[in-house]
């Protein structure tokens, strides 16, 4: 039967097909992109294989035989079944029914999270910049995804896709970002001890979907840095704020004489000329009704803000802060390097990292009743830094008569509790009433400012906030926030405005100092949704020693022996 075929060495050229295909495929896999090179290998490879198959079938005419017909039937039937099974599974995933049987609902989202994700107004994507995917985290993200198709997530290796990582400003592995539209926000940083938390994620989502606009006003008209780019502009700082969800607008107090009510914060960035008294008064009024002010005042200028600053116990020194330690990194003595930060929300993540301030003036703080102040930026101690009064002389020298020894304070954050207004003790009633009614209790604060500086009984305020827990059935959580009114006014003073200008803003921590200050000022640390962390039920197994022994013996010895002995017995009998 066998035909003796002639040897046809060129027949083996067929092996080029799979070979080329594999080369292209591997190249594509390794480089991660399917560009010209992998395709240049794969397409000829496939072409060779197809050619070979056609040629072979021409040779053997296999399609004419009966077994081929049956075989074709089988192949078609198999393909059909595969497609049908695929479709069934697709539908099964789409319309799946999940029931969490664990007693504490370990794998189910809190009702608040479910509600929030279901009514997401626009699509939201979570980017996890990590190489290893913790199954627990993934499970949580999949749970979110099941609620709404608007929620998506992706794991990204920052090293293999540096473009995306740079877009988000990823600093280390494990950072989780939330992106919606053109807003991007850090949710949390994952590590071995800290897994992805539903509480944080849901609260970030809530913040992001929040419809209220947070406005930051920049005072203009006295030689402040322009908001647009260009010479000494602060366009990068403005852009940074916009990315954080702020709306930035210029403010001209000379014709309005009042700070708009929707101002979350007012920034005075480097005013060169003095403000009118009426303008200062407007800022003072604004502070008194719970406003938030960021003052960045350069040396050698007098914006005439002393009455306002005095009220807060702040005095601007006219001398220049000098730091001779920065020469090694190319910063002159007039640009103090700060590595010493205060214990404050603004600077809590800074560690010993650097920010610098070209031409800065020290700030003196005196304590005033009812005002809490925290120095933010401290220069180094004396031999390295001091406040220089004589700027005319060629040589920078410490002059004990006129100069001030370091460490100097270049920035300070202050808070003043608003006096308790006409809205007395909302707590006891609020706590007992059902949750939908509790929210509007504190709205009147804004309307009735009282300029007296007293420390209010702080105890009543925090308890009031905890009562308005959103229960799943009530109003969407986003509305509750807008009704909150500030309970304190905040002020941040820097003896320098240069650190936030274009070019310098992106160097070292300078930008963070500015952005964190505005964030803290605007009191956007809004009330989080109260989601209880998932906790397993606390349960133990108590076994007596005899029970344990019986279990060990029977499972390790008796049962296996039973199997082996039976096997041996049957084998022996069969023999």
């Amino acid at each position: 039967m066998k035909k003796i075929t002639k040897k046809q060495p060129w027949k083996y050229l067929f092996w080029l097909g799979p070979f080329l295909f594999m080369v292209g495929f591997t190249a594509g896999l390794v480089s991660g992109s399917w560009g010209l090179l992998p395709l240049a290998f794969m397409i000829p490879g496939i072409a060779v294989i197809i050619f070979w198959v056609v040629w072979q079938s021409q040779q053997s005419r296999w399609w004419a035989s009966r077994s081929t017909q049956a075989g074709t039937n089988a192949v078609v039937a198999t393909l059909a079944i595969l497609v049908i099974l695929g479709l069934i599974n697709f539908l099964g995933v789409r319309y799946q029914l999940r029931q969490d049987l664990t007693e504490t609902q370990l794998f189910t989202l809190a009702p608040q999270s479910q509600e929030l994700v279901r009514r997401l107004p626009q699509s939201v994507k979570i980017w996890v910049f990590d190489t290893n995917q913790n199954p627990q985290d993934r499970e949580l993200l999949e749970n979110y995804q099941r609620q709404s198709s608007k929620f998506q997530f992706e794991y990204v290796d920052p090293q293999s896709r540096p473009g995306i990582a740079e877009k988000f400003g990823v600093k280390e592995y494990g950072e989780v970002y939330l992106e919606s539209g053109n807003k991007r926000q850090l949710v949390q940083s994952l590590n071995v001890n800290e897994r992805l938390s539903e509480i944080k994620l849901t609260n970030r989502l809530q913040q992001l979907t929040n419809s209220t606009v947070v406005k930051a006003y920049f005072l203009q008209g006295h030689g402040e840095h322009p908001l647009t780019g260009g010479e000494s502009g602060i366009s990068q700082a403005v852009q940074g704020l916009t990315e954080k969800g702020y709306t930035v607008e210029p403010l001209n107090l000379a014709d309005k004489l009042q700070v708009p009510n929707d101002a979350a914060a007012v920034v005075v960035a480097g005013a060169k000329r003095g403000l009118f008294d009426a303008e200062v008064k407007a800022l003072q009024n604004y502070l008194n009704r719970g406003g938030n002010l960021l003052l960045m005042i350069d040396p050698d200028t007098d914006p005439k803000l002393s009455p306002l600053l005095q009220e807060w116990g702040v005095r601007l020194d006219n001398r220049l802060a000098v730091d001779v330690s920065g020469a090694g990194v190319g910063l002159g003595p007039a640009a103090p390097i700060i590595t010493d930060y205060g214990q404050h929300p603004i600077t809590k993540d800074f560690g010993k990292n650097i920010s610098f301030y070209r031409l800065a003036r020290p700030i003196e703080i005196t304590s005033v009743a009812g005002i809490q102040s925290t120095p933010l930026l401290q220069t180094k101690a004396y031999p390295n830094s001091w406040a220089e009064s004589d700027l005319q002389s060629e040589k920078l020298e410490f002059n004990p008569d006129k100069d001030l020894k370091g460490p100097l304070t270049l920035g300070v954050a202050l808070t003043r509790k608003l006096p308790a207004t006409s809205n007395p003790i909302p707590t006891p009633t609020a706590a007992t009433t059902p949750s939908p009614l509790t929210t509007p209790t504190t709205t009147q604060n804004q309307a009735t400012p009282t300029p007296t500086v007293t420390t209010s009984p702080a105890t009543s305020t925090p308890t009031a906030t905890t009562t308005s827990l959103p229960s799943p059935a009530t109003t969407p959580a986003t509305e509750e926030k807008s009704e909150q009114s500030p309970k304190e006014s905040r002020l941040v003073v820097f003896g320098n405005s240069d650190f936030a200008t274009d070019g310098v803003f992106q160097q070292q921590l300078n930008g963070d100092v500015f952005l964190n200050s505005v964030t803290w000022l605007s009191q956007q640390d809004q009330q989080p949704l109260s989601i209880r962390p998932k906790e397993p039920k606390n349960r133990r197994i108590t076994l007596s020693t005899s029970q344990a022994n019986v279990l060990t013996l029977s499972s390790l010895l008796v049962l296996p022996l039973l199997g082996f002995l039976t096997a041996a017995f049957i084998w022996w009998r069969r023999r």
Binding site: T78, L85, Q133, I541, L543, L562, I570
Partner: protein
Amino acid sequence: MGIVLANIIAIYRRELQSYFISPLAYAIAGVFWFISGLFFVTILFGPDGILPSVAAIDLQGQQLGVPVPLIDVPYEFIRAFLDRMGWLLLFILPILSMGLYAEERKRGTLELLATSPLTNWAVAVGKLLGVVTFLITMVAPLLIFEAIALSGSNPPMSPAIPLLGHFGLILLAAAILSLGMFISSLTDSTILSAVLTFGLVLLLLFVDLIAKSIGGPVGEALGHLSLLKHYNTFIQGIFDTSAIILFASYIFLGIFLTAQSIDALRFQRQ
């Protein structure tokens, strides 16, 4: 319909009988029991086991007066045990499924089956039922041990999660056995059949890893094929219809392909 059912039952009984008089089956059961017993004891009482480590945490908490983290010991135990059992099955099941058809081929009885009036479907279903039943009898004694251990649970645990976990275990086993049966019908070498099945099962395991590295909708679809991922949802205590549908698809696919391959055999012989 009744005839088909009767045929299935006939095949099923023949298969079961062959298991219970085969020394090899008992030897496999013995190995399985020993390894699972080893897992059971080490997870529960071993030096790194749950009971000693939790006891140490409790003691530490009492001495230092710090609050002890909440631990659901029986839940953790049953989850860890079922997890190991899933892995163990991946190694044991190819050995169970390898002989299903390959043995018949070797002995020459497959022609009898293929040309008999029985439909290939009935044969495949009967054989699969037989081997799944044998597996269940292998797992059953372990249930007693688990029941004893869980009876010491304080406060008591509802049986829902262990039952769901074992349900998932049986589904996982049936899916792998069904695919193994198909592979066994392709060859007359039991060893080759076992090796190929093991390879296929490993592939279905690693498809999850591949899927994760690909990402996107393709990765998602690939990830859905993973056996162990769906088994994990069950042992965590989540009842998920899509997982049941996936396992059922695998079982059906195995039976269908087996019937097809025996069909092809008929044509070849003609």
